[in-house]
């Protein structure tokens, strides 16, 4: 049945009678997009379904498969797997399998559905390859493992359809790169395969449409089915009796109102941006939980058993509130949520819409959400996000350029799977949209890297991991290599974590070192690299209280409680996890420049900005304000680029280097999503006034040349990025938590490797991968470059005699956010000074 010529997307198909009856029995009617998807699938088209939560996305994705399978009795079917479903979360795959049981059981369909995750027992895995189910639900990592299996060609030869859930979330990371390569292989193993992508609305749906189908320079795209949200979301900014403070992320001022909102609703999800905030808000809510409401906590560092318990209670409707981080961002249906509270700024409009979608899983009822800005900059940011939601504007990230370290992992997997011809694999890999840019030469570099490390000095040939056989196929040289591949698969590199445990310090004798007593309660986990920096007696915020570090004992960080009112000495990660999106930043700059907008704003913003205007100035939309002033014996320079914390951090590193060279003796800097403050011993404002320092020169794009190169050579962030790439690419082995006491050994050796490689082969494929990560990752160089070019010729300088209202908001982060900028050797010099003290004592 050919589709009408003017409508290649095919006319909606009718449901088979059994399905129509099942829908009718439940009082439902098939939605137009569900029928449209069915018709497109029948026409053999791949399709992107772009729909808000509650639109029946999952059922729409599986309907074509269920109809297919219902129409052909098992005996008449081709043996093997029919449909593969991939989700970013293990829990989501399990959840979907459960949801599919209703229609399958209701219509008595002869369909076998199974999940395959890291938890699936070995015997079941083996059986799944021998006798596959009709529908298999799994994750990108498990797919990679299956594709590297010797039986992959047989297993996937029968595949008709692949359903990719939460595609918008997957494609923004290296996991999306890995999945795109897996998808390219599936298209090759099963010609005629169609892909269905399920996604929330994104800025550039065409990128996702390309992702779903093989690219051959023809800009092929999957069909696009769009469902627009029914009811408009009901979102507002929370009115609080107390105004938001000038800085900080705790939202302590709003706890009463958040609690009242929980009391007034059936189930409330309280979203926060970081684990630390989650801990804090949870504790504060319980402090005032007079009614003893069941309020739970859910974040990634909690024990898995604990998380499962919360999820079960949630599904059972036993909870009134859950304080959670992005672990609950994705589409799991946790029951009857009727309110979403977002504490802190949403950082991106699309992220906010995703979170709001968690409430009211029915398309025709409005989702209800309340935003709680934690400081005054965040009031503006929340307002900007609200406007964006009202305008249905999206700020999802740009499509990724496929990463070379992920490609290296995939190439090794394909050698394990039974071998590949280099030209064939190149054609296949470059048919994946993220790798459409890949040239043949770079691909060859990656293959050589996998084989022998790919060094210009070809000394490792005889130890090659993969080698070309007489038949022209690259294969692994040794079964041990395949074993290594399986242990290393995946793109998520976990930071080693240590448990934080309460313990008392007892002094055995006067002057003797404190001996901590173990056995206290575990409060949670911190990254090992953070714990490593602590000295006994250092205080820091964790789990909502100020703790005193006592010692590291095996894998525990032993801490004690401090007296109320103690100040944290060491900054812990209190800031947002995601940097402010470019889109929201632009809107906030626009607000700042428009008094008609900010004068009407709540939460003390209008007073704050009015004072700023009086005491300093407010920059126009395209200007960048730089303020200089003295305070308490030091000189400060505060700049407001609004480009997010990561880009500011890199900018701060480079600025301090340049100030140091100008002999202006900078001591350190701190940054937020909105601005950064640099301080030092010389009067920067005076240096500008007498022409000793040229601000446009200081902020010139030249800093991205030699200054950047020099800094990258020693940057700890760059070394960490390199380590991640080296692990993903399989240069060094991943250590699993528990297998080794700590990840310290690895960190040390990759730093040495980075130094040597950088000096001797700066263009090595792994350094190319590292630099490409640095451009968008922890160093956000791309955004910094954009910022420097944006402000060229548009810097306005105010030399003040005291701190300005805007500057206060940035400077209050000193002590809360990590302070950077002191040369590493300073620490050695400080330690050395102790020797002199001892000598003089």
């Amino acid at each position: 049945m050919p589709a009408p010529a003017d409508r290649p997307d095919a006319a909606p198909a009718a449901l088979p009678p059994a399905f129509a009856a099942w829908f009718a029995a439940r009082g439902w009617e098939p939605r137009p997009h569900q029928l449209e998807l069915l018709a497109l699938a029948r026409a053999g088209r791949s399709v992107l379904l772009d729909a808000p939560t509650g639109a029946g996305k999952t059922l729409a994705g599986f309907l074509p498969t269920l109809v297919d399978l219902a129409g052909t009795p098992p005996a008449a079917r081709r043996k093997g797997l029919h449909t593969l479903y991939i989700s970013p979360l293990k829990a989501l795959a399990v959840d979907i399998a459960r949801n599919l049981e209703a229609p399958v059981a209701g219509m008595a369909l002869p369909v076998a559905i199974e999940t395959r995750t890291g938890d699936t027992p070995a015997h079941k895995r083996a059986r799944q390859i021998e006798r596959p189910p009709d529908i298999l639900l799994t994750t990108p990592e498990q797919l990679a493992l299956l594709l590297a299996h010797r039986e992959a060609a047989t297993l996937f030869g029968s595949l008709r359809r692949v359903v990719l859930d939460e595609l918008h979330a997957l494609v923004t990371s290296k996991r999306g790169d890995l999945l795109s390569l897996g998808l390219a292989r599936l298209h090759r193993l099963a010609p005629g395969l169609t892909a269905i992508g399920l996604s929330a609305t994104v800025r550039e749906p065409d990128d996702l449409r390309r992702y779903l189908v093989p690219q051959a320079g023809d800009d092929a795209m999957a069909a696009h089915v769009v469902v627009r949200g029914g009811a408009r979301a009901d979102i507002r900014i929370m009115d609080t009796a107390r105004r938001p403070p000038l800085a900080g992320h705790t939202a302590l001022h709003a706890m009463r109102e958040i609690y009242a909102a929980i009391c007034a609703h059936r189930t409330t999800l309280v979203f926060v941006n970081t684990r630390m905030q989650a801990e804090f808000v949870f504790q504060e809510l319980w402090r005032i939980n007079e009614e003893g409401l069941p309020i739970a906590l859910h974040h990634g560092s909690l024990d898995v058993g604990q998380r499962r318990k919360v999820e079960a209670a949630m599904t059972a409707g036993a909870l009134r509130g859950v304080v959670c981080t992005s672990t609950l961002d994705l589409g799991i249906d946790w029951g009857d949520v009727d309110l979403v509270v977002n504490v802190g700024a949403p950082k991106g409009a699309s992220r906010l819409m995703q979170r709001i979608g968690r409430s009211n899983h029915r398309l025709d009822e409005p989702s209800k959400a309340i935003l709680v800005p934690a400081n005054r900059f965040e009031v503006m940011e929340c307002r900007a996000a609200l406007d964006a939601v009202a305008a249905a504007a999206q700020d999802t990230p740009e499509p990724r350029t496929g990463a070379l370290d992920v490609l290296a992992q995939h190439v090794l997997g394909m050698a394990c799977a039974g071998g590949f011809a280099e030209d064939d694999l190149y054609a296949e890999v470059s048919s994946a949209a993220p790798y459409a840019w890949l040239d043949r030469g770079t691909f060859a570099d990656v293959v050589r890297f996998v084989a022998t490390g790919g060094y210009a000095l070809a000394s490792y040939d005889r130890f090659a991991r993969i080698r070309v056989g007489r038949d022209g196929l690259w294969r692994v040289t040794n079964p041990r290599v395949a074993q290594q591949y399986r242990l290393n698969v995946g793109t998520i590199v976990e930071e080693p974590m240590l448990k934080v445990r309460l313990g008392r310090a007892r002094r055995s004798a006067p002057g003797a070192p404190a001996a901590p007593v173990r056995g206290g309660r575990v409060l949670g986990e911190v990254e090992e690299y953070f714990a490593e920096t602590l000295l006994p007696g250092d205080t820091f915020i964790f789990a909502g209280e100020v703790l005193r570090f006592e010692a590291i004992a095996e894998t525990d960080v032993v801490v004690s409680r401090t007296a109320p009112g103690t100040d944290p000495k060491i900054p812990s990660y209190a800031g947002g996890k995601f940097p402010l999106s470019t889109f929201l930043a632009e809107r906030v700059r626009g607000m700042l420049a428009d008094p008609r907008v900010w004068r009407r704003m709540e939460g003390g913003v209008s007073d704050w900005l009015e004072t700023q205007e009086r005491k300093s100035m407010l920059p126009s939309r395209d200007q960048m304000l730089v303020e200089t002033f003295p305070r308490a014996g030091r000189y400060y320079m505060v700049a407001y680029p609004f480009e997010g914390r990561l880009a500011h951090q890199t900018l701060g590193m480079l600025l301090t280097r340049r100030l140091e060279r100008a002999r202006l003796r900078p001591l350190g800097f701190v940054c937020t999503d909105y601005g950064l403050a640099v301080w030092g011993l010389s009067d920067i404002g005076a240096a500008v006034a007498v022409g000793r320092l040229d601000l446009p020169g200081l902020f010139s794009e030249e800093m991205l040349g030699d200054d950047l190169e020099e800094w990258l050579a020693e940057s700890a962030l760059m070394k960490r990025t390199f380590r991640h790439c080296a692990i993903i690419a399989g240069l060094i082995e991943r250590r699993f938590p528990g297998q080794e006491k700590t990840g310290r050994q690895v960190t040390m050796s990759t730093d040495l490797v980075y130094d040597v490689l950088r000096r001797h082969e700066p263009d090595h494929v792994l350094l190319r991968a590292t630099r490409s990560d640095a451009a968008t990752g922890l160093l956000d160089l791309k955004r910094l470059a954009g910022l420097l070019s944006r402000i060229r010729g548009r810097i306005v300088h105010k030399d003040l005699d005291r701190v300005s209202p805007l500057a206060v908001s940035v400077m209050l982060e000193i002590g809360r956010e990590a302070v950077f900028g002191e040369a590493a050797d300073d620490l050695l010099a400080q330690a050395e000074a102790q020797l002199l003290e001892e000598a003089l004592a």
């Binding site: 000095l457 290594q484 020693e714 001797h760 620490l827 050695l828 020797l835 001892e838």
Partner: protein, 243 residues
Amino acid sequence: MSLAIDEPVPPARRAAEAAAVIRVGPLDFVADVSGALVLPEDRLLLVADLHLEKGSAYARRGIFLPPYDSRATLASLAAALARWRPARVIVLGDTLHDRGAMERIDPADIAALRAMQAGIDWLWLSGNHDPAPPAGLGGSVARELAYGGVTLRHEPSAAEQGPEIAGHLHPAGKVRGGGRSLRRRCFAANGRRCVLPAFGAYAGGLNVLDAAFRPLFADAAFTAHMLGAGRVYAVPSSALAPD
């Protein structure tokens, strides 16, 4: 010898120079920022634990570390020789990472090593990784050596009180403070004994607070002369942190 009074030494430079001085028994050595130990008036230079071809040793297990570690190590050694122009060099063992190293090393690296020996009295002490340094490296070989009342050997001997200079343990010191931490290779010394840092690019380090160092330094009191970016810093063991 007289001091030029009209040109006072800046305090920072004086501190740097003081930090670099390491006394062992009767001799005052100077610690070079590369990890070499120098006796300038005797034109003597000591290094330990070059571990040449450690990278390629990993390659046999399918871990392809960049094969430039020997080259990097030798370049650093050549730079130290150019700075101090010694007449005599003594390498305190573990020159080669393993027995197969000579088969894997790039002939160009061997040539570079031979070239830097020109005009230098070069002595290899044997280590645990290379009980007998093979022919082809030039110089002469010994197990240990007494020099000006100080014993030079690969593995420090806890049974003796010194004076002794050794390698083998790859000492590294760690300092923490202000929310940062820093781990650097170091010389561990107490006036009677000095353990040299490993010179090899991939050699890595063992924290000097590790139990392995305990028998060597009575009362755990010693100074870690840590290798900074531009100079050596003398840090008392009381200011060091464990891993």
